[in-house]
Symmetry: C2
Subunit: 321 residues, 2 copies
């Protein structure tokens, strides 16, 4: 077992793609092997620029990522892409497993694309994703892109994780207004109105620019609003340019260090929450005391807050798993 | 302080609406007062039928809820509505605070409507919502509706919380396909194609019915697929009928007990995760040891998993807060 992980991490560090793919599967599966592998690779990470691409379903995030890959490759850089799929807690796996549009890059060894199932994790970005990002970094990729499906919490989680967050919108169907209503207008470092050839693109542009003027969370970086058509490639070079400008800004202003500190803090917070949950769930199936406590809550003789306190102070083994 | 909570809970139990509103604010604010109030009210809850209304932004969830309120009132029942708004982690509050469509019910004392901010919580349904549901139950409401914005994790969380989950979709714009892709097609007890007067409604109907036939997670309850127009009220009586049928099914089949057990388990899991996170975040600002640990991770000399283990076994006070 230990030998396997040693070979796996050695090969991964040499840039072996199959080792990388297997390592990410280990991360996805979780458990002690994932933790062990993550520990081994940790010291070799933290160099890639991490781009988050987010937005409502159907706005064309995958197509935009596909176009960005082309720009990144033209710039002589390598890129790893993690596409986070939503999980069904009933089937326990990803339904959307195909990344059809990105298939054009499969023969390019400077590109690695992987769909990851979000196994019911907090905030839409699973712990496995943090590990997978490190694995891509350890494999030597210059840039890592995380693409997330969904609106809301997952966008907020991405904003805490990525160095540069791209919020993708599309004209019409009130997508711009919904974005503002959803409170996700403050998370973007770059705003892309994709499908910019559709009617309503310039109206969407105005709405977003105005909303950003009202928000003004960051005085130093003014998030650009770009109109693009990832399908035809129009305007995607400007998106790539904006990414490089944002990277320069982060580095020159010292913001990058702050972001990475916040990112580690967010990750630790997620790991701790996940461990606490797992301890509880494992305890549920093994401990008669915990079962009895649950029954007390069901009988309305003990409230959930008091039950949680008792679990955390007495019943749950918070030791290393 | 204690006297205040006593008065507050006494008045709430008498059905005083202002006490209810204040109590929910206490729950939203969180902390020890919220826990204390929740403990006081706990024994008086668990009677209302809990309906979750969920679906992508823009499908008309609020309008549907509005129409359902009318049906519920016609049936001689009272209803409390919690509309969960997404939170901006930057401003810390809800942006969408208005519930314009539901204003028609504000003078009806059998209806209570409240927007709740999702304070960055796991899964889109905050701990405050669990407490607020109990407060509505303790106030004597027969039915509680939770409406959530967002696609993905929050839908999954709602499915674990509600007795009856309504997944709302709209025709066209690939909303049906996106729902299937998002893996949220397995969570609905009732599917409503809202804006059923738009072109594509019957196509959306076929797509969803077919997808449900492929899924077939529950052999006993066949989720009905209904076409409605909440705006005009067409078909919303059928939605209400389906809810009552689902309630009867849950009770006669014994599924209700199982659902409520799963709900309590999910709530305990969330409370424990939230407490663990809060302990960490509080520890971050107070403990030099925890700060030093974070710095080790930033310096790449300690991996996050090992750091989390050390935090949980040594550094974090998991005692009651």
């Amino acid at each position: 077992l230990t030998t396997d992980l040693t070979t796996l991490s050695d090969n991964l560090l040499k840039g072996d793609r199959r080792a990388l793919a297997r390592a990410i599967t280990v991360a996805e599966t979780g458990g002690s092997q994932a933790t062990e592998l993550s520990k081994r690779l940790f010291g070799h990470s933290s160099t890639a620029h991490l781009i988050g691409v987010t937005g409502s379903p159907g706005v064309g995030k995958s197509t935009l990522v596909d176009a960005l890959i082309t720009n990144i490759r033209k710039a002589g850089l390598t890129v790893g892409v993690l596409a986070i799929d939503p999980t069904s807690p009933f089937t326990g796996g990803a339904i959307l497993g195909d990344r059809i549009r990105m298939q054009g890059h499969t023969l390019d060894r400077g590109v690695f694309i992987r769909s990851m199932a979000n196994r019911g994790h907090v905030g839409g970005v699973s712990l496995a994703t943090y590990d997978a990002v490190r694995m891509l970094e350890a494999s030597g990729f210059n840039i890592v892109i995380i693409e997330t499906v969904g609106v809301g919490q997952s966008e907020l989680a991405i904003a805490k994780t990525a160095d540069t967050t791209i919020l993708t919108l599309m004209p019409g169907s009130g997508d711009d207004v919904q974005a503002i209503k959803s409170g996700i207008m403050e998370i973007g470092d770059i705003y892309v109105i994709n499908k910019g050839d559709l009617p309503g693109a310039s109206k969407a542009y105005s709405v977003i620019v105005q909303s950003l003027e009202l928000t003004a969370v960051n005085n130093e970086w003014r998030p650009p609003v770009l109109i693009a058509s990832a399908e035809t490639g129009d305007g995607t070079d400007k998106v790539w340019l904006a990414i490089t400008q944002h990277k320069d800004f982060l580095e020159s202003s010292g913001t990058l260090v702050e972001r990475r500190k916040a990112k580690i803090q967010a990750e630790l917070s997620e790991i701790i929450a996940a461990k606490a949950k797992r301890n509880f769930q494992e305890g549920m199936s093994h401990s008669g005391q915990i079962q009895a406590l649950l029954q007390e809550v069901l009988n309305l003789s003990l409230d959930p807050h008091s039950a949680a306190d008792r679990l955390m102070t007495e019943l749950l083994p918070f030791a290393q798993k």
